[in-house]
Subunit: 471 residues, 2 copies
Amino acid sequence: MDPFVVVGGDAAGLSAASKCRRESDREVIVFEKGQWISYAHCGTPYFVEGSVDRLTDLLSLSPAEAEARGIDLRRGHEVVSVDAEDRTVTVRADGERFEQPYAELLVATGASAAAGPFDRSLDGVFSLHGLDDAAAIDAYLAAPDDYDPARLGDGPVDRDRVDHNAALEPPERAAIVGGGYVGVEMAEALSARGVDVHLYQRSAHLLTPFGAAVGERVESTLRDHGVTVHTDTEVDALVGDERVAALRIDGDERPVDVAILGVGIRPNTALLDGTGVDRGPSGAIKTDDYGRTSLPAVYAAGDVATARHAVTGAETWVPLGLTANRAGRAIGSTVAGDPTPVGDVAGTAVVKAFDLECGRVGLVDESAATDAGFDPVSETITAGSRSGYYPGNEETTVTLVADRTTGRVLGGSIVGRDRAAVRIDTLATAIEADLTVAELERLDLAYAPPFSPVWDPVLVAAKVVNGQLSE
Amino acid sequence: MDPFVVVGGDAAGLSAASKCRRESDREVIVFEKGQWISYAHCGTPYFVEGSVDRLTDLLSLSPAEAEARGIDLRRGHEVVSVDAEDRTVTVRADGERFEQPYAELLVATGASAAAGPFDRSLDGVFSLHGLDDAAAIDAYLAAPDDYDPARLGDGPVDRDRVDHNAALEPPERAAIVGGGYVGVEMAEALSARGVDVHLYQRSAHLLTPFGAAVGERVESTLRDHGVTVHTDTEVDALVGDERVAALRIDGDERPVDVAILGVGIRPNTALLDGTGVDRGPSGAIKTDDYGRTSLPAVYAAGDVATARHAVTGAETWVPLGLTANRAGRAIGSTVAGDPTPVGDVAGTAVVKAFDLECGRVGLVDESAATDAGFDPVSETITAGSRSGYYPGNEETTVTLVADRTTGRVLGGSIVGRDRAAVRIDTLATAIEADLTVAELERLDLAYAPPFSPVWDPVLVAAKVVNGQLSE
C-alpha cells in the first residue's frame, strides 16, 4: 500500500501524521518545505514582547520526536504539484525533483501573511507569520550592542536575516497596520519593548470580529497603556529608502522606523492550482465533515482548508490553532481506518490586550446573522465578574445574539479584566449544542463570591435577551 | 383575589416576590421571621476573613428597596402553620397571631446549620449560617480592645450576641469540624485572622463531593498555608465549662479555644409538618418542574426544596445560591401568569481554597453514577492552564466521568491555580445539553497562549475518556 503523504509539517500535518502512526502501522511521510516544524504560531508576539525567553520554547515537537513516532519527516522538501488521478506528488529537494506515490494525501500547507499594498522589502517592515519573522523583529527592536542571540535557542533560524536586523539601529516609533489579533498583540509587545506605538485600523473598531462592545474597551485599554490608536484611518503606503521612514495617509507622511503589518492572511492553495479542486470562502480548499477535498483521496486541514460553521452550517474559513490540530488529528484517525469527523467550528477566539481579556464565538455581527437567514436579537450587558462585595470584582461586558424565531443562541462576545476570556467557552458549548436562550438562562452555572456573582454575566445576558424574545 | 404569600425573605423568597411584582399587579406579602433579608450567605466567610469590609456589604436588597418594588414586606413575622385546604397561613408577630389567606403560597424557609453531636451553647463554638453567626465569630476572633463595631455596618444585627463575643479573650487555636465548603473557606478565613487552624474531616478527603483528585490538592494547599489537616478523623465532642476548652477524639482531649462546625445543613421544613406534603432526599420538600409541592397552590424553593437533577432526572437536594434565586424567579413568573420552569440542577459548585480554585458538576463519584443506572468510565488528567511556554501556566487537574453505554458526559471536576473554577461551566453546559464525550472532544473551545493551551484541559480529558470508550 502506498504511504499516507502529508504536505506541511505544522499543527495540522503533524497532528495527522502522529495520530495515524499511533493508530496504525501505515507508512507516513511528511514533506515540509522549510526547516521549522510544529511551532506555536500564536506564541510569537509573546516572544517579541520578551515574556517567552527563547524562540525555541515555541516548538512543540522536535524532528527527533516526530521520527521517534515513526513519521518519515523530510524537511527542506517542497511538494510542487499533485497528480490526483495518478495519486502522486512531485517533490523538489536539494535541486532535484522526484515523484512520490500516495494512497492518501493531506494538504496542510497553511497560510501566509498578506502584505496588502505595502512594500515588505524595506528594512523595518515586517509581517508576523512564523518563527523567522519573530526572530527578525526581535533582533530589529534590540540595540546592536544589546542583542543577545541566545534568545534564538538552538533551532534552524534564518540567521542571516537575524544578523541583518540586529545590526540596524533600534526603532523608536512603530506603526502597526491593522487592528486584528496580530495588531493588538503586537501593540502590547512593542510597548513592552519601549517603542512608541501607533496602531492604525481602517474600520471603526479594533478586533472587528469581536464586535463594537469589545473593540471599544480594547481601544480604551490600549490608550491607557500609552498606545496611540487611529481608527477609521487607512494607511496608503509605507515609504523609505532602504529602511522604512514614514507612512503615508491621505498624502501626509508620518515618520516611523518600524512597521508591523497585520492586514490578514491568505490560504496557501497554490499547490492545488490546476487540479480543479473545489474552493470555499477566501479561496480556501473546500472540505467535508471528514476533511476530504473534492479530489479523490486528498484531504486538507488547517489554515489552508475550510470548515463547517456550527451556527450557519455553511463552509467557512476560520484559520485558528485548535481547528488545525483537531482536523489533523481526525484525518489521521480516518486514514488509519477509524472514520472521524473533523468537527464544526464555532469561530471561538480569545485575545489578550494588556490586562483585558476578550472572547467571541459564533455570529456576533447582526448583519452577518441576517445574511445567514436569521432574525437576530442582540443585547449588550455589563455585570460583575465576582460578587459585588468581593475584592477584584471587575465589570464584564457580554454581548449575546439570538434568533428571534427559534430562540437559538447565535453568538456572543465577552470582555473584562477578570477571567473574562475563558467564560466564552460556556457560550461556545451552548452554541455547538444548539441551545436556546431560554435554555441558556436556566443553566446551572458556577457561583462562589471569588469567581462569579450569583448570576454569571452570561446568565445576565441570557435573561435580558430572553426578555426581549418574549416581548 | 387573595395575595401571593411568601414565607422567607432571602434569595428564593424575594426573587419570587420581585419577579411577580415586576410582571403583574398582584398583591405580594413576604413574611420573614427574622430581621435580615436578602443577604449573601456565601459571602460570610470572606467577612470573617476580613476581605469584605462591612457585614452590611453582604446585603443585596434593603427593606426599603423591597418595598419600593411594591412588596409588602413584614419582618419579625413568623408563619407558624399552613392550612392548605383553606389556603390560609397563621402568622405570629409581636406576641399576636393572625390568619392570612393566600391564593398561592411559596415556602422559602431555607435551611439551618446542623450541630451534629456538638454543644453549640459553649462560648467559642459556632456554626456559620447567616449574618449573626458571621458577626459573632468576627467579634470573638478580635481582641476586646481591637474590636471595631463599625465592621457591622448599619443593619439589624444581634448586638447582644456580638457584644458578648467581643468581650471574650481572642482564641489562639481553632478546630474546624468538617471539611466541606464551610470548613475549607473558614480554614482560610481563620488563618487570615492569625489563628492556628486544625481542620478535622471524618472521611478520607476534603470536599467529598468534588472527588479525590480535588480533595488531595486542596489538602496539600491547606497544609502549604499552615493549616493542619486531619482526615479520617472523627471528632466525638467539644468540651469545656462556659467556653470551649478542648475537642475529644477517641478519648483524647486536644485543647482548642474556638470551634467552627461545618457538619451540614438541614432544610427548614417544620412549617409543613402535618400537612402530608411529599418529601424528597434529606426530607426536603419535593417540588415539580415548576416548583409546585404536592399541596395545591403551594410552591417551595431554595434550600428547603428539592430540584430535578440534570443527569439522573431524579429528585435531589442541592441547596445552593443560584438554584434558590433561579427557582424563586421562575415561580414569581409562574404566579404572575407566565408558567416558567425552575430549571434542573447539575450540582455545579465552585470553591476557593487559598490560591486554589475548585469546581465540580454532575456525577463525579463512580458509585453514585452506578447507583443511578450508568456504567461510568472516569479518568483524571493533568494539563496546562496556558501554553507551556507562557508565564503563569499552572497544572490543571480534570476528572471526567462518562457513561460507557451512551458516551454521555455524566460529571467532572477541575482544580488548579489559574482560572480553573470557571472552566467547570463548560462541563455544566455540556452536561445540561446532554452532550457525549465525543461531542465534547470536538467542541471549538477558546485558545490563546495566555488563557489556554491549544487543547483546553477539558478537551484533553475528553480525548482520554473518549479513547477509553472506543476500546
